[in-house]
């Protein structure tokens, strides 16, 4: 498998795969701060 194809697949498939996992840990868009729900992420 040539290097270009390997790099292409790392970027094309690796990026969304990593982000899929990372987004599991993304905080809720609204969180409880100072006893009220406020937006913390978009």
């Amino acid at each position: 498998m040539e290097f270009g194809l390997t790099l292409r697949r790392i970027i094309l498939l690796g990026t969304p795969l990593v982000l899929t996992v990372l987004m599991f840990f993304h905080p809720s868009p609204y969180d409880d701060v100072a006893c009220e729900l406020i937006p913390i992420a978009g």
Binding site: E2, G4, L5, R8, R9, I11, L12, L13, T15, P16, L17, L19, T20, V21, M23, F24, F25, H26, P27, S28, P29, D31, V33, A34, E36, I38, P39, I40, A41, G42
Partner: protein, 154 residues
Amino acid sequence: MGVALWMLTAGLESVVATFSRVAAVVFALFYDAGDAIAGISTGILARSAEEGALGERAAVAAMETLFADPFKTLLFDIGRYAWIVALVLAVVALWRAGAPRLPLVLMALPAYLVTFDHAFPFGSLTFGTFFVIAAWLELAPGRLTLAGQPRRVS
């Protein structure tokens, strides 16, 4: 993700594929800018409030100001629409290049899911569906020659 979106049509030489890649760049620029304001900035404010460097009330007021700001919303909206445009144009370009039809139809999923928030579960669903569909297209029989050989499509 902008680069991944670009890679979806890499090797395809057509006007539609080129516009898809341009939209991918627009998505990367604007969505990241919006996320820098809404996500990173509010994260810093929340951490400062937690550490006591900033009063919680002041942090809440600052976050609400950030989220009410129409410029932040505009950046996110441009980014979201660019993602949708890039995907639709990529589907057209890949369709014309003879890619499998079913994964191209399913590309509607990440295009729709990006309209929601990217926090869990929608972010994972957006990028997860993109991953599955991109893998399907990439590993489909005949795709190797498609990627390796630049093709001109009307």
